[in-house]
């Protein structure tokens, strides 16, 4: 597929166009495109969460390494999504999906997360991220309808059950994995990649980092005279 065509199709997926979703599914490059979306959206998510790396004073090559490891961690979480979808489709619907087909659906569903780097935006970022998460559910529902012809109720139940399952796993099994990864990343990279801003008292972190307000320095240069008014 030409780059322009790919961008057009991804735009169509985000706009919830079933035709664009079917075009990707029927294309020989469909699965590769879905995996590409998943990897890029994971990288975008890692970039959106990258300010935490600055807080830990990570720089240079280690910064890039942290971004890549963070991307891999997102991929692991997406793998949980994919396996959950295979199970739920077989339990709740007559569809017997393969892992590749489920990857395609999740890849389409995650297309809005390509914009998750926008979480960086001051004040707006966290709100946009929540909207993107909600849009992932909506896109997944439409993708399930478009690719498998499921009724709205069936698609909704699979997407919501999948989301709940991922949340449950995230609060149980995932935590253990996360702790292991957290320990590993702390050991290898010197930073806990699983930390999020919401978990930190940043003022405490800043104060704990060292003497913030030091002794006075030498007097500075004379103050420049006033400039022209800027009405």
């Amino acid at each position: 597929m030409a780059p322009g065509e790919v961008l057009g199709l991804i735009g169509g997926v985000i706009r919830l166009d079933p035709e664009a979703m079917r075009a990707i599914a029927q294309s020989p490059d469909g699965l590769r495109l879905a995996v590409g979306i998943l990897l890029l959206s994971s990288l975008s998510d890692a970039i959106g969460n990258s300010p935490i790396l600055f807080l830990s004073g990570v720089g240079g090559g280690r910064f890039v390494a942290c971004l890549l490891v963070d991307t891999l961690l997102s991929v692991v979480r997406i793998a949980v999504w994919i396996v959950s979808l295979v199970l739920l489709l077989s339990l709740l619907t007559p569809v017997d999906a393969t892992v590749a087909e489920a990857t395609l659906v999740v890849g389409l569903g995650f297309a809005p997360m390509l914009f998750s780097f926008l979480a960086l935006l001051p004040l707006l970022g966290p709100v946009l991220l929540r909207l993107l998460h909600a849009w992932v559910i909506v896109t997944t529902i439409v993708a399930l309808q478009a690719l498998y012809g499921l009724a709205l109720g069936q698609a909704l139940s699979v997407a919501v059950a999948g989301w709940v399952l991922v949340l449950v796993i995230g609060h149980t099994v995932d935590r253990a994995v996360v702790r292991g990864f957290g320990w590993l990343t702390r050991r290898l990279l010197g930073v806990d990649l699983l930390l999020h801003f919401g978990q930190l008292d940043l003022v405490h972190e800043v104060v704990a980092a060292g003497p913030l307000l030091g002794p006075p320095g030498p007097p500075g240069p004379p103050a420049p005279g006033p400039t022209e008014p800027r009405p």
Partner: protein, 354 residues
């Protein structure tokens, strides 16, 4: 006609993308400073040398003046600034404040501190930056030319760049880091001007427009460092509901009835809405640490603004005189309250809302 519309559409698209990109990279100014990525850390921020309000003529043989007892008044400019300079409008205000602190007989007085660049955690003026300094320097020279479309565009670019930093300060994820830089600059400037930590000398931080947010954010770190909570005066401040409100002795928000800019945070930030009763802003309002003072007829800036010496209110005083008088009343009451190392808040009743 359709070609013209297409060009206009393309221009608007480029503009929106440019604004979005600049907003996206805005947090990295303070984050990279914190991570030590930028060469300069503000170990010794450069502020104007001490300009204590000159006392009256000393008697022959009188002892050398002691360490100033304050009040220490720090003025931070609005989002139009590019460096340590303050413009002529702001200079008139700080001159009045200095004169007003002296009293009628020329005795007493406080210390006026200016010359800080508030819109960067590193306190580095825009034109002195390693990578982008040349661009900002060119823009600075452009702004010195006779007013025109290009100078207006340059003004708006600078305003936007600094506004993005104000938004960074308001964001709970980035604010504590950005504010640490602001606090560092303010504290070093105070020490350079003779402030003795723990002395209880009153410290009043005046922030114009976006500068008010920087003052408020820095208060979190300044309160323990100074040994007493500072007083903050916001002049048409674009301020959020931030943790710093818990660390001020009191904050007085002066706002003009024609000032649209200072209203924007109250409209767009849910934590400034009345519904958010437990927000820092509403808690400070409820317990009297935050007082809102209406300045009738005044706009944010320029002619008709807070610092206009030519426009007068109903009582015949110029807008500049009214603004300075309100500020001096706060400064004097802080000075009269005297040393208060306990950090107790002065009781001030709220009045009105913007």
């Amino acid at each position: 006609m359709s070609d013209l519309l297409a060009v206009a559409g393309a221009l608007v698209t480029v503009l929106v993308i440019g604004l979005l990109l600049s907003l996206l990279v805005a947090p990295f100014d303070s984050l990279s400073w914190w991570a030590g990525w930028v060469r300069q850390r503000p170990e010794e921020p450069e502020a104007a040398p001490a300009r204590a309000a000159a006392p009256g003529p000393a008697a022959p043989g009188a002892p050398a003046p002691a360490t100033p007892a304050g009040p220490f008044v720090v003025f931070l400019s609005g989002v139009g600034t590019m460096g340590r300079q303050i413009d002529a409008w702001e200079q008139r205000l700080t001159d009045r404040l200095e004169a007003g602190m002296r009293g009628p007989d020329g005795a007493g007085g406080g210390v006026m501190v200016t010359g800080l660049f508030p819109f960067s955690a590193s306190a580095l003026p825009l034109s002195e930056r390693r990578r982008t300094g040349a661009f900002w320097g060119r823009l600075e020279r452009l702004r010195d030319e006779p007013p025109g479309r290009l100078t207006a565009l340059a003004d708006q670019l600078v305003n936007w760049r600094n506004l993005t930093q104000v938004l960074v300060s308001m964001d709970p994820r980035y604010g504590p880091i950005y504010d640490a830089g602001g606090a560092r600059s303010l504290y070093a400037a105070l020490l350079n001007h003779g402030f003795v930590p723990g002395s209880g000398a009153p410290v009043v931080l005046i922030g114009y427009s976006g500068g008010a947010q920087v003052c408020l954010g820095a208060a979190t770190y300044l309160k323990p460092a100074l040994g007493a909570p500072p007083t903050v005066i916001s002049l048409g401040g674009a301020v959020g509901s931030v943790r710093g409100l818990e660390s001020v002795d009191r904050m007085v928000h002066l706002y003009g009835s024609d000032d649209l800019e200072q209203k924007l945070p109250a409209i767009f930030l849910p934590s400034r809405w009345r519904l958010a009763r437990r927000s820092f802003w509403n808690r400070a309002l409820a317990d009297g640490r935050l007082r809102l003072v209406l300045l009738p007829g005044m706009a944010h800036t320029g002619p008709g603004g807070y610092l206009d010496p030519d426009r007068s209110g109903p009582d015949g005083r110029s807008f500049l005189e009214v603004t300075a008088a309100e500020m001096l009343a706060v400064i004097r009451s802080s000075a009269a309250a005297g040393p208060d190392p306990s950090g107790r808040a002065a009781a001030v009743s709220p009045s009105g809302a913007p």
